[in-house]
Amino acid sequence: MILLSLFSLTLAGIFYSCQTAEKIQQDAYYVNGRDIYIAQCQNCHGERGEGLGGLTPPLTDSVFMKTNKNQLACIIKNGMSATVTVHGKVYEGKMPSFNMADIDVAQVIVYITNAFGHQQGMYTNEQVAADLKNCK
């Protein structure tokens, strides 16, 4: 009886600790993306993605992040000079361009769309490459 319960407990443990390969890859992207974010983005966008006054928009608007997800790669790579409305507030400053490899862009996107209260899952470098062909 004891043996049986131990066995089922172990089985349950294995079952719950198991992560899919995709989840592990996403976590790796997230961690690497955070390092890139700290080095390249945090100065303006802040440690918690809160932005900077009226100068830099925050990254905490989930609706914006979701509806513009396929534009994020373009914004990071090419910068942005058009005005942008985030949380109902208009920002008109200019964002510089960041010359990064596709995989770095993908990692940053995974970080900023899963940190700051978002939960949008994985984003691959293939998706980034496809997005970059359709920049506005």
Binding site: Q42, N43, C44, G46, L52, G53, G54, L55, T56, G93, K94, P96
Partner: protein, 217 residues
């Protein structure tokens, strides 16, 4: 019994010494070059006096297109720094940190802030005004000023001891150090804090009241 008495006495003395040593009586150092000067006293003798480095007279245009001179900072301590509005490297984080200091001393009119732009071509008063508004700064407490290249760069390097320069290899076109320089009512430099380091900015927040208390004596 006698031993007991001695022990109690020692313990009491140690406690008193320990407690009194905790009293904070801090003064800030005076930075910069200094020289000596012989001063003639009224009775004919001479003594040696120290002459400290001070911030010279200046006049710059601020975000409201008004001239800002030393008179604006008379009887006040102020924090000076060097930045430019299109900067994407250290300025945002410097001013993010300085804004917290500004908010803390918002109601203390003995404290002021002075940010010099090193981008003498682009950062006109209207650009500086927009920048200040977006940062959430209003009113004369925090001055954003612009001047000729020569006047700003000279006062930065010679007086505030902050390195600034134009650099065509840099993406933004300018390079500068991120120091926040604390200046007292006698125009002397009393502290320099790395504006990108939250711990040093917290130290600045603690040092401003020390400086204010010292000048009240």
């Amino acid at each position: 019994m006698k031993y007991h008495y001695t022990f109690t006495c020692t313990f009491l003395l140690a406690t008193i010494l320990f407690l009194s040593s905790c009293k904070e009586n801090r003064t800030l150092p005076i930075y910069g070059l200094r020289e000596t000067k012989d001063v003639k006293n009224s009775d004919g003798t001479t003594t040696v006096d120290t002459v400290y480095q001070t911030i010279p007279n200046f006049s710059f245009l601020n975000q409201d297109s008004l001239a800002v001179t030393n008179d604006h900072f008379k009887g006040k301590v102020y924090v000076a720094d060097f930045f430019f509005t299109s900067c994407t490297s250290i300025c945002p984080v410097m001013h993010r940190n300085l804004k917290t200091v500004y908010d803390k001393f918002k109601d203390n009119n003995e404290v002021m802030f002075l940010s010099h732009s090193i981008d003498f071509k682009y950062d006109t008063p209207s650009v500086l005004k927009k920048y200040a508004e977006k940062l959430g700064v209003d009113g004369p407490k925090w001055q954003f000023v612009n001047g000729t290249k020569d006047s700003i760069y000279t006062i930065a390097e010679k007086s505030y001891l902050v390195a600034v320069g134009q650099d065509s290899t840099n993406r933004d076109g300018f390079v500068h150090q991120g120091y926040l320089v604390l200046v007292d009512k006698d125009r002397r430099i009393r502290g320099a804090y790395d504006g990108t380091d939250a711990a040093q900015v917290a130290q600045l927040e603690k040092d401003i009241p020390v400086l204010l208390a010292e000048e009240k004596k």
